[in-house]
């Protein structure tokens, strides 16, 4: 084992890990909001809005994130739209995960029995308040586990940003692999860092699920 090599390059790896986390947070924020829009449109009263949202979801789900990133980063400049590699990666991941997270939200909302809404209305709540105070809090608890799974997928997907040379963890490992004769060490270390990030996220989620349990009605 060539530990010295890893230790010498620890700063590079740590910077890469920080960039990975930044990409994931950016994509998560974008997709949390975008997912709300998708869910809202998918449940809209107006059929055209529903169709647009469904089309968006299908396209996002059935094409690879790598190709989506390439379209934004290599394709759009031919139309005069220029974005940094980081922005392209975050935007592409936000868009794709908006589709997934939108479906998660929607499933969470429809899983709540219509009687809950009725009970809230019967108490004199306006529809908006019933949604905010009664329906969303229950739905959020139910979407916590699938949302957590999606976040772990997002973290892993950030590795694709290395294909457009964003200096994240996978990119850092490629640099080290090119530079050295210590492939296993590099490979193991990078895998462990990804595992640690995923495990950390999973732990936080378990905590949140324990704090906000789904209760039967």
């Amino acid at each position: 084992m060539n530990l010295a090599f890893i230790l010498n390059n620890a700063p590079l790896l740590m910077e890469g890990a920080a960039m990975t986390v930044a990409l994931a947070i950016g994509a998560l924020l974008g997709a949390t909001l975008g997912g709300g829009v998708v869910a809202f449109l998918r449940m809209s009263r107006h059929a055209p809005l529903r169709y647009v949202a469904t089309g968006f979801v299908e396209i996002m789900r059935n094409t690879p994130i790598l190709v989506q990133i390439f379209v934004l980063y290599f394709g759009l400049p031919t139309l005069g739209v220029h974005m940094s590699a980081f922005t392209s990666a975050v935007l592409a991941m936000s868009l794709q995960n908006s589709a997934y997270i939108g479906e998660i939200y929607r499933a969470g909302l429809v899983s709540i029995h219509p009687r809950q809404r009725e009970a809230a209305l019967a108490l004199g709540m306006m529809p908006g308040m019933a949604l905010r105070v009664i329906l969303l809090p229950q739905a959020l608890r139910r979407v916590l586990p699938p949302l957590g799974n999606q976040l772990i997928i997002i973290i892993k997907d950030t590795s694709v940003a290395s294909t457009i040379a964003v200096a994240e963890l996978t990119q850092a490992s490629k640099l080290l692999l090119d530079r050295s004769a210590a492939p296993y060490e590099t490979f193991l270390t990078v895998a462990l860092i990804y595992l640690a990030i995923s495990a950390g996220v999973a732990g936080v989620l378990k905590l949140a699920e324990w704090r906000y349990p789904v209760r039967a009605s």
Binding site: A120, A122, L123, G124, M125, M129, P137, Q138, R215, A216
Partner: protein, 268 residues
């Protein structure tokens, strides 16, 4: 004599005037007319599918109705009749304001599972009326005391029995201090041994003078607790009157055979 307690000369609290409703091509309510005075306890009885639930849901506008008019304390429910004869749906705000004055208890309790018992009671008064939490809490605790569940105030609905959940649901409706309480087959989903505790609570509310409209299949209870009874069949109001008259001297053949079937069923 105090004017506050003598509504005898004034308008009834609830006036249901020739109300009709259809689900698609099916008329489920046909020209139903009824009045309920303040302090009355009206029981709605009749075979399953006769429109009792639908009528009750129209009273707080959980269902809309196409013909006739319902008024509560002089205010029309859900619908504004225009001078030219057309009908306009009231605003969400107006409808919510009316519902805030009408409590409803459902067959399946419909408690909010993510809130504990006390929060189930306080959420609407605090959010809808914007009342201060302190007094609402006190009122809620008093009501929990009345339904015998003060010790369960920090439990969640899923930790309670069906009978306990239904008593919480009644207390939740009352915490809003409604002028009228609607109860739709509130014991039908309960195990037989839990029915009594819920009926006892309702009986005590009747004694307190709370105005109620009750859909029920518990005939002995209806007879004991009601000031008047209405019998529905096929979306029509067939007969209504004092409990003694309805149960002992029914005029209509439909009601007689309904009673006969009920008694036969009960003796088996």
């Amino acid at each position: 004599m105090s004017d506050l307690t003598s509504p005898a000369t004034s308008e009834p609290l609830v006036v249901i005037d020739r109300v009709g409703k259809s689900f698609g091509a099916v008329d489920v309510l046909k020209e139903v007319s009824l009045t309920v005075a303040a302090g009355d306890v009206l029981s709605l009885i009749g075979p399953s599918g006769s429109g009792k639930t639908t009528l009750l849901r129209c009273v707080n506008y959980l269902e809309t109705y196409e013909r006739g008019l319902i008024t509560i304390a002089g205010e029309t429910v859900g619908i504004e009749p225009l001078p030219d004869g057309r009908r306009r749906r009231k605003s969400d705000r107006q409808i919510a304001a009316l519902r805030a004055q009408v409590g409803m208890v459902f067959q399946h309790y419909n408690l909010f599972p993510h809130l504990d018992v006390l929060e189930n009671l306080t959420v609407a008064p605090c959010r809808v009326h914007g009342e201060a939490p302190g007094p609402v809490r006190e009122r809620a605790l008093a009501l929990l005391e009345q339904v015998g569940l003060a010790d369960k105030r920090h439990r969640y609905p899923s930790e309670l029995s069906g009978g306990q959940q239904q008593r919480v649901a009644i207390a939740r409706a009352l915490t809003m201090q409604p002028r009228l309480l609607l109860l739709d087959e509130v014991t039908s989903a309960l195990d037989p041994e839990l029915v009594g505790e819920v009926l006892d609570v309702i009986t005590s509310l009747a004694a307190d003078g709370i105005t109620m409209m009750i859909v029920t299949h518990e005939m002995a209870f209806a007879r004991e607790v009601s000031t008047s009874v209405a019998f529905m069949a096929d979306g029509r109001l067939i007969e209504s009157g004092a409990p003694e008259a309805i149960f002992e001297a029914p005029d209509h053949e439909r009601l007689r055979s309904f009673m006969q079937r009920y008694r036969a069923g009960n003796q088996l």
